[in-house]
């Protein structure tokens, strides 16, 4: 990877992580557009998830639902996971193609 690309990558990751760290403290807890609509138009807007996700609503259950530290860890984990998946998937897709062409 060129130094320019590396610098860009590091800078971009840093910005994403700063957002991930700030979000649990700064994000509005108001319902979002869809949740608000559900409250307005449905008699019973409560829904149950079809399966229990490991980190529900960006919290770490072991740390308690209201602990912002859990939110920070969950979001950092998610951000790095997405970074790795998007990068890895793209590389794999391109590599296959490269073999075909050469």
């Amino acid at each position: 990877m060129s130094p320019k690309n590396k610098k860009f990558l590091v800078g971009g990751i840093a910005i994403a992580l700063v957002i991930a760290v700030l979000a649990p403290f700064m994000a509005s807890s108001n319902p979002d557009g869809l949740d608000s609509t559900m409250e307005k138009v449905m008699q019973n807007p409560e829904t149950e998830p079809a399966f229990e996700s490991p980190l529900p609503d960006y919290t770490i259950p072991a740390l308690g639902e209201e602990n912002p530290l859990g939110g920070v860890i969950a979001l950092i984990l998610g951000t790095l996971l997405i970074l790795g998946i998007a990068y890895g998937l793209s590389i794999i897709i391109k590599k296959k193609d490269g073999k075909k062409n050469t």
Partner: protein, 214 residues
Amino acid sequence: MHVPDGLILFPQYLVYYAIAIVVIFFALRWARNSLDERAIPLLAVLSAGIFAIQAMNIPIPFGTSGHMMGAALIAIIFASPWAAVLVLSIVLILQAVIFGDGGITALGVNIFNMGVVGGFVGFYVYKGLKNFNGKAAVFTAAWASIFFAAIAAAFELAMAGAFPLDLGLFYMGGFHAVIGLIEGAITVVVVVALQNVRPDLFSLEQKPSEVASK
């Protein structure tokens, strides 16, 4: 905007799953054929950034909040709506599976609304307007991407019998017309910043193919 479980019931959600599988196939094909290898770090970083910023709900009036969706941003920067389908699919699958954000049964419908509707509306509104004014085109495309994704959701939830059509359209459209202003503003900021930092990867003035051929 993330549809939870329990609103679109079996077997209707299977239709959206089928659509999602088809569009993910096309998105992967786009990546194989058209994704510039030098742009892979950009795709990865933007995906991570979109995941993070989707957790940053910004309050809007009426006791509601909204967050950035990011489909128009990706479609504009990579000059393809399929890029948006790819990135939003990755983000939405992880959100549903690990964080319970958006139902697992609603994954197909969420990929359709945010990836396909968001990506295609964002891409074609930008394409149609960019010759008038680049920044205005980006803003309008981003606003339209989330507004029409919300309209699509209102129709789907009405078909599923969860929402009445008229009120669903009224509230979903109304809230997201305001949330779209956030989408538009952030998208313009990121696009302009990217143009300044990496004009080799993306430029408002040129098509990526022209940049690449330099």
